[in-house]
Amino acid sequence: MDELRLVRAMLDDQPAPTATEVAAARRRVLGSAEPSGTDELIRTLALADATGTAATAGPATAGREAAELAGTARRAPRGPSYRRRAGFAAVGAAAAAVAVAVATVPGGASGPGGTATARPGPAGRAGDGAGQAAGLSASQILLVAADKAALAPATGARWQLHTLSGGQVLTTGGYFIDHRYDTELWVPTAAAEPTWRIMHDLGARPATPADVAAWKQAGAPTRWTIPLRKLTPDEQRQQAEKIQINRKLNPNGPLIRAPKAQTMTAAGGAPFAAREDSHGTVGVIANKPRTLAEVAALPTDPAALQAWLEREIRAGYRRDGGTGRSMSADLFEQGMQIASHLPVSPALRSATFRMLASLPGVRAVGQVRDPLGRAGYAVGLPEKSGGAVNEQRLILDLRTGATLAWEVVVLAAYPADPHSAQAGQVATYEVTVGAGWTNARPKLPARQIGPEDAVG
């Protein structure tokens, strides 16, 4: 009898960490490093984070000096998203906890809906942040991120992408609600294993303090109807794109249908897992699903990458008559997609940031908080869209090079369109809760569907 082996077998009942958990631990340890190289550039900023608005900054942004001064800072609660253990019931609770935490951020106050989570802090308000990045230009922010990205590990049996997305939606009551969706994508490297997409409707809530007031006046309903409206050309394109991509991934029955008059609830829905026939694809670039091998073969020289992307963007959208946007805007969005949502090598992420840094029109927004209240630095690209000006923003954690979130912020609203979010607000956001390689397996909720089952 080998009692050592028995001990090992008995204690071997603990799950491996998720990519998110490893990333949080890594930030905790390495985020404490003394500055060197590009760190010099952000040292003052980290200290400002640690001593100033530390309410939700946590150890991820606190410098080592500050952590040691504070003594307990090292054990300060981390962002609730990191505390989450993969159970799905926990997601809603975690999101609620985030809302509470964020409500305490100075300047980020909000009503019971906790909707300040959907907006950057004061520093992130359009136009006023650039000077506050302690002189960091857009390219400096991106180059620091590029350097950090080059250090990230890249191994594991599965690629995990965990996002939280939402945005402002007008209700028939005349006020806006923020409807949030939690999505986990698990793509295995083993061909025999299925790809899973676990989706959880986290429900909706009034979007801003003004909306909270209007909502209360309307009797505080927990169920909303979203009026049908004519989609903007941009939205039509995105909708067509989603359906098209989904058809490619699931030829036997689309998971996404064109929108009908929709009902949203405060409670949201139960999570479910969708098994996908992804045929080895790990994500989408320029309207086309790509395999891991294709992603791995992308050029790691910024200029070559840009040339390739421009070709793919032209080819990918040709049928739709183009996206109607500037090439810069398309490159920004596709670059964000590559750097944030795809399993790419550190070299490719780094090249992507370098490419973004060279795009005309990209500006430094400065220090902001993402919708989960995590502090980061944003670069943005304002673009005209009809009569409005929107800005895509990429929020980065400069200590790790990780993407925190992608947002579309309204800089100037459509003059006469009550359907659009107002200036200074985040119209759409997609938070990267975690992205990385892991040996952990998805914890599948009870409800599971295959590619043959359509979701209404």
């Binding site: 028995l6 204690l11 491996a16 890594r26």
Partner: protein, 202 residues
């Protein structure tokens, strides 16, 4: 309890073994004293296995926190790492074991939970398990025996059983002589066997 077992971190993803890394690690550690970012390579190489060791002793629930603490402690002491006293891997297991020691009550709670028969998942008896004894009862006895070991003996036993360190590496991790490692391990194994009802020479 229902989680799938994790692949054992016997070799690194690059296909090389820990031994291959020894010289490289030592150079990285030296460089990290002036360039702290270099410590990232040490973290990436060893976090998964150290975290696995901590999770098995304390549960996955707290493993990331405790392992990050261990790496932080190691990071702060990186200047005092001496390659002459052993490899980086066993040096890190030393920090991890000390951090686990700070959570002794959590560890004992885990063993006591495993020692409750009704808490045992029903799984087939492992190969070579004493035949008439059910796997659940075997685990229950093993867990309560683990809880009954002295901390010093348990550290040695689990560094061998879970981390698969050699006697010399365990000695380096815990800063004790090889002979002490051997005697503690023997004593711990004797206690486990007694709890399982096996004879000395099985």
């Amino acid at each position: 309890m229902t989680a799938p077992p994790e692949a054992r971190p016997a070799a690194h993803p690059d296909g090389r073994t820990d031994a291959d890394h020894t010289a490289e690690d030592a150079a990285t550690m030296r460089a990290s004293t002036s360039d702290p970012d270099r410590f990232a390579a040490i973290f990436d190489r060893y976090y998964p296995q150290i975290r696995g060791y901590v999770a098995r002793r304390l549960t996955a629930e707290v493993a990331d926190d405790v392992t990050a603490d261990a790496f932080l402690a190691a990071f702060r002491k990186r200047g005092s790492y001496d390659p002459g006293q052993g490899n980086v891997r066993s040096w890190l297991y030393g920090f991890a074991t000390r951090e686990v020691g700070a959570h002794r009550r959590a560890e004992l709670r885990r063993y006591r939970a495993l020692a409750r028969l009704d808490a045992q998942p029903s799984r087939p008896a492992p190969d070579g398990a004493a035949e008439p004894m059910a796997a659940a009862e075997l685990d229950a006895r093993l867990a309560s025996a683990l809880a009954g070991l002295s901390t010093a003996d348990r550290d040695v036993l689990l560094l061998v059983a879970l981390a698969e360190l050699s006697y010399a590496e365990v000695g380096q991790a815990l800063s004790i002589p090889d002979g002490t490692v051997a005697s503690r391990l023997n004593r711990a194994r004797r206690q486990l066997r007694a709890a399982l009802g096996a004879t000395e020479d099985n």
